[in-house]
């Protein structure tokens, strides 16, 4: 009887510890295609990039070192999808505004009109911190090329519509440049679930933050 009681106590303590350390999160999957090289699995990662943000500062992969980030694609004059997505991105921003390990990266796909001064005015209108939320522009081919890399994970879904860079999807990228989650940025319920994934990824990538 004592042994059973001891085992029950042990199980309870272990379960409680597990629950606390992982905040009830399952590890998020690593999304995208994968290769097998020399017995190792090579996961899909976001390739190197270099763009300019609203403050004319270079934004590269290194900008997000030791950080996770949410990426999206938009343009200022977008009449339908983008205003909804920006509203949701603002919710993500507000929710994690004081979380130093999370950044936001919005790529403009209208390289003709969305100049750096326009991006600056846009970010100021939103009233966001430019060191946390980068609005970037670059060569058209580079922007669309990187969009392809981000959205290759969504292309695995045969039911997904085309034109991914104008689909309003938000993408969550971990500290190693791997895509860990995505959602429909026009749908508040989908974004709510996505923010839970951000919480999970933060707790997994930065376990000491909870202590």
């Amino acid at each position: 009887m004592k042994t059973i009681y001891f085992l029950l106590m042990l199980l309870t303590v272990t379960a409680a510890q597990y629950g606390c350390s992982n905040s009830g999160c399952k590890p998020l999957p690593i999304l995208g295609e994968r290769d097998f090289q020399n017995g190792d699995t090579v996961y899909h990662t976001i390739p190197t990039f270099s763009f300019l943000n609203q403050d004319s500062l270079e934004v590269t992969n290194a900008t997000f070192a030791q950080k996770i980030y949410v990426a999206d694609f938009f343009f200022i004059s977008c009449p339908t999808i983008c205003p909804k997505v920006k509203k949701e991105m603002l919710r993500v921003y507000a929710r994690f505004e004081n979380e130093p390990h999370l950044s936001l990266l919005s790529h403009s796909i209208d390289v003709r009109h969305d100049t750096i001064p326009r991006l600056k005015a846009f970010s100021e209108k939103l009233g966001v911190d430019g060191t946390k939320w980068h609005f970037v522009t670059g060569e058209e081919e580079a922007i669309f090329g990187i969009a392809d890399k981000y959205f290759s994970i969504a292309k695995a879904d045969a039911s997904a519509p085309g034109g991914f860079d104008h689909s309003g999807r938000l993408i969550l990228v971990d500290t190693k440049g791997m895509v860990r989650s995505f959602c429909d940025g026009t749908d508040p319920a989908s974004v709510d679930e996505f923010m839970k994934d951000i919480d999970c990824l933060l707790s997994q990538e930065f376990p000491n933050l909870e202590n």
């Binding site: 004059s77 009449p79 669309f144």
Partner: protein, 135 residues
């Protein structure tokens, strides 16, 4: 005198209701016209990324093309670029009017024609590009 005030009792609400009716109708017309324009836009906007990609693919075939095909490919690339620019410029300039009166019905009618022309140019240039690539 009493008759006049009695009439006003009816006239004033009738005028108010008529005003409200036309106000609501005007809002509905505005939304209807705006949505019709957006439908045309939304149908072709997702093609933009495919157009950028197919331009790149076409450009890559230039080296292995004979002179006649080179001319066709270059023209097709220019058509794609013009159509894409047409869409970006249209989006940058289009502004939904605040109400459906004055110049706004004519403006919306012009914008519908303009976005339809953009849509046609995008579709035809893309079709031509696909045709050239599959030759």
């Amino acid at each position: 005198m009493q008759m006049i005030s009695f009439k006003y009792y009816f006239l004033l609400p009738a005028l108010l209701l008529t005003g409200l009716f036309y106000g609501c109708q005007s809002d509905k017309d505005l939304e209807k016209e705006h949505l019709a324009i957006m439908e045309i836009h939304d149908e072709v906007m997702p093609m933009i990324s495919d157009m950028v990609k197919i331009r790149k693919e076409l450009a890559q075939t230039l080296g292995e093309s004979d002179s006649i095909r080179q001319v066709q490919v270059k023209q097709c690339i220019r058509d794609l670029q013009t159509a894409e620019k047409g869409m970006w410029d249209w989006m940058a300039e289009y502004k939904k009017p605040a109400s459906y009166d004055g110049d706004s019905p004519a403006y919306l009618s012009d914008q519908k024609q303009a976005i339809q022309a953009v849509s046609d140019a995008m579709k035809s240039s893309y079709e031509q590009a696909e045709k050239l690539l599959n030759e």
